[in-house]
């Protein structure tokens, strides 16, 4: 059924749906996230969490200075994060700008990484300030070049001015281009939406419009994937599953730099959306520096001491 039968695609039905959502009490959400951050994850569960987190990393490079060489190096790291230990799993995806998609795809295929999808940031990432025509072409290009995942940004200006239907229609249009060729992740840039009420509204808006994943941030704006923001998004996917029978994924991105942060995210998932979401098909972490810290913690668990950073590859 179109839009899960929950809205009919009109401005009025969308507004009425979003305005009926219960509010988020910011103090309470912060307190719950802070409480879950006190979970103490040790020994076997820590080992499991580290390996699971590695499979969830969307290994990312989104720099103006990106070159083919840099992207190829990233791909190699994605396939074999630790060349000295082949028991380390591959990451969830490689995330690059539009023009680097074909480079990444080709290189991954040539080094045994055919199973790793390439995610392309899209729709005039990171600002989202371009015409619809450009955004559509941007997405089409990426898919033609072999992107299996599209990380689109929403028009925060439209959202903040209350023009929800415009944001909705954009997502619907991009989803149509993705079709069954690419998974669609919708980036809110929660640091610009600011309130948890907005995060909740944006989550439902994107899910109704056809997002496969909802994603916190571009990584270009702080604050990004704070635990309470991720908590609110996890509550949204959990409740949406009750309403629509479909599990939507969540991708925090930005600011998750070490193993401790990553494990906190997994605890949030486990105790909010539930264990069903603890899989790379429903939870990803957008990161670059995180992977090396996960590897170093993994080595430490095996060897009993912290190795020098020279024992993990810089890219």
């Amino acid at each position: 059924m179109k839009y899960y039968g929950l809205v009919d695609g009109s401005d009025a039905s969308l507004k009425s749906f979003l305005n009926k959502l219960p509010g988020v009490d910011a103090v309470g959400a912060d307190a719950r996230a802070a409480m879950l951050a006190t979970r103490s994850i040790k020994t076997t569960s820590k080992r499991w969490a580290i390996d699971t987190a590695i499979t969830m990393v969307d290994l990312t490079t989104l720099e103006g200075a990106d070159t083919e060489g840099k992207v190829q190096a990233l791909c190699a790291k994605a396939v074999r994060p630790d060349p000295t230990d082949l028991s380390v799993p591959s990451v969830g995806a490689v995330c690059v700008y539009n023009d680097m998609v074909s480079v990444a795809r080709k290189h991954l295929d040539s080094i045994g990484g055919a199973h790793i999808p390439v995610a392309a940031v899209s729709t005039a990432f990171p600002s989202g300030r371009a015409s619809m025509k450009v955004k559509i072409q941007d997405t089409q290009d990426a898919i033609d070049a072999g992107a299996g995942e599209i990380d689109m940004v929403i028009d925060r200006g439209a959202f903040l001015s209350g023009n929800y239907i415009e944001v909705f229609n954009e997502i619907v249009a991009i989803k149509e281009i993705c079709g069954d060729k690419a998974h669609l992740k919708v980036i809110f840039e929660t640091g610009e939406l600011v309130t948890y009420d907005n995060v909740r509204k944006a989550s439902y808006l994107a899910m109704l419009a056809g997002a496969d994943f909802i994603k916190t941030s571009t990584g270009k704006i702080a604050p990004a994937a704070t635990p309470p923001v991720v908590l609110v998004m996890l509550e949204a996917v959990r409740d949406f599953y009750e309403m629509a029978g479909v599990r939507i994924g969540v991708k925090p991105a930005g600011g998750i730099r070490n193993t401790k942060d990553a494990i906190k995210q997994l605890v949030l998932v486990n105790e909010t959306a539930g264990p069903e979401w603890l899989t790379p098909s429903l939870f990803r972490i957008g990161a670059s520096a995180l992977l090396n810290d996960l590897l170093m913690q993994r080595m430490k668990m095996d060897d009993g001491y912290y190795a020098s950073p020279q024992y993990v590859t810089i890219d």
Binding site: G23, D25, V27, G28, A31, T38, S40, T44, N270, P275
Partner: protein, 479 residues
């Protein structure tokens, strides 16, 4: 594989428990005659042997307190008294881990709570009252206020160290000396506090600790040398105390039971309200006098809300109190467990519907699964009597006024919670609810600056804040 949290137990190495304890009287540990065991309610392991205070011990303690009052304490300036309180507060912080572990061992509460709530708040009470010691004339109690003298303090087993802090800190700040009796099942942190008094160099006899049971408490209440009684505990015992002191010159404050309602309106922030309800009733196994033991919820959202509440309850981790991931620890004693079981059975018999998540509990020790009863009405015992355990009774209402009426329809009046995103409704409801403490969109938040106490059968007087200071002074003129 699923995300199982491996055991993460806090080490017991920081505490050393003696095999036997005496009373702390006049700055010395004095051996008692009879003894009784104190056990770890999570394992039934005997932790130590505790002296049962008799007439001789209480006499000696009162005498020591009187002597300390006359010879030392009454001669000190407020600033000097404050120094001791600051010192005690800092030592509590320095020895926080030791106190937290010992509290969890003796009481059964999760280390996360003793570590993050009980001990830091206990230190905060000493810091707060240390600041008042030399500023009492500015506390709104007038310039003629004087300490009562020797105060007898009887504290409960649910927050042993914290309740000690609530009692001892204001008493010392206002210039009284103390005879304190910790609860029968949880004396160990009070006995460790005696060490803190020594470490702080507190003059001998300013704080005296006599351990024992109800008979010891009665000896303190009825002792002619005691000028004021401060009691926290059951309404039943509170009534006996009130009768005992009637006709004497003793002043008295009582902090007693409760049957608090958490009133959830249809415009509440649902997810955070669910958290608040869970925190309200399952914090400290529900062994909280102000626990939100009744959920009074608007019918229009009740089905959806209960479903969410049940899902959330499935995540509550029951088990070893010393495990850092435990949310719900052990019931404090076999007697308390029996009482909870008895009232839960009454709930079944009266036709309420019982629900608990599946949870595996240890074979030894005293345990009760987190439980909710739906379909409860005002006439059920579980809607009226204090259960003092992890059991929530759910009642529904149709209009806001009906919600308030149901919330107030109880002999108690200690606390209440309001859950709504609408500010005007919160203000309206808070004026109508008859409870000493009202929380809006939060629950079980404590702060030394805030007076705490109840209406009706929930008690007399206030503790904490400036109102709490006044209770330890006579001749208060409220200028």
């Amino acid at each position: 594989m699923t995300f199982e949290y491996a055991p993460a137990p806090e080490s017991r190495a920081s505490v050393s428990i003696k095999p036997k304890y005496g009373h702390y009287i006049g700055g010395k540990f004095v051996a008692g005659e009879k003894h009784f065991p104190t056990i770890n309610p999570a394992t039934e392991e005997v932790l130590s042997s505790i002296s049962l205070g008799g007439k001789k011990d209480v006499d000696a303690a009162v005498k020591a307190a009187k002597k300390a009052l006359d010879l030392h304490w009454s001669k000190l300036s407020g600033r000097e008294r404050g120094k001791y309180l600051f010192r005690i507060a800092r030592i509590l912080q320095e020895r926080a881990r030791e106190f937290a572990v010992l509290e969890s061992l003796d009481n059964g509460k999760p280390i996360r709570e003793s570590r993050d709530v009980d001990v830091p708040l206990a230190a905060a009470h000493f810091f707060y009252h240390a600041g008042w010691a030399d500023k009492l004339e500015f506390a709104g109690v007038g310039t003629k206020a004087k300490p009562h003298g020797v105060v007898g303090q009887i504290i409960p087993w649910n927050f042993p160290l914290l309740m000690l802090a609530w009692k001892v800190a204001p008493a010392l700040a206002t210039g009284n000396t103390v005879v304190l009796k910790p609860a029968e099942t949880t004396p160990l942190t009070a006995l460790l506090f005696a060490e803190v008094c020594e470490q702080a160099g507190l003059p001998a006899g300013v704080v005296n600790i006599v351990t024992g049971d109800g008979s010891t408490g009665a000896l303190i209440v009825n002792h002619p040398g005691i000028n004021k009684i401060a009691f926290t505990g059951s309404t039943e015992v509170g009534k006996i105390i009130a009768e005992s002191v009637a006709g004497t010159s003793k002043s008295v404050t009582l902090e007693l039971g409760g049957k608090a309602a958490n009133v959830v309106f249809e415009d509440a922030a649902i997810d955070e309200s669910v958290e608040g309800i869970v925190n309200g009733i399952f914090f400290n196994q529900g062994h909280v006098c102000c626990a939100g033991s009744r959920l009074v919820i608007q019918e229009s959202i009740s089905d959806e809300f209960i479903k969410k509440l049940q899902k959330r309850m499935e995540k509550i981790r029951v088990g070893d109190p010393l495990d850092k991931n435990t949310d719900l620890g052990a019931i404090n004693s076999r007697a308390q467990l029996e009482k909870i079981k008895e009232l839960a059975l009454a709930g079944d018999a009266e036709g309420a519907e019982r629900w608990s998540p599946e949870c595996s509990m240890p074979n030894k020790g005293f345990w009760f699964a987190p439980t909710i009863f739906t379909g409860v009405t005002q006439s059920h015992r579980i809607a009226r009597e204090e259960i003092f355990g992890p059991v929530l009774s759910v009642l529904t209402f149709r209009t806001p006024q009906e919600g308030i009426d149901k919330a107030n329809n109880t002999p108690f009046g200690l606390s209440a919670g309001i859950w709504s995103e609408k500010g005007s409704k919160i203000l309206w409801a808070s004026q109508k609810l008859k409870a000493g403490v009202i929380w809006a969109n939060t629950f079980n938040k404590f702060d030394p600056t805030s007076p705490f106490g109840g209406y009706k059968e929930s008690g007399w007087g206030r503790e904490g804040g400036r109102h709490g200071l006044a209770a330890y002074l006579k001749g208060v003129t409220h200028e």
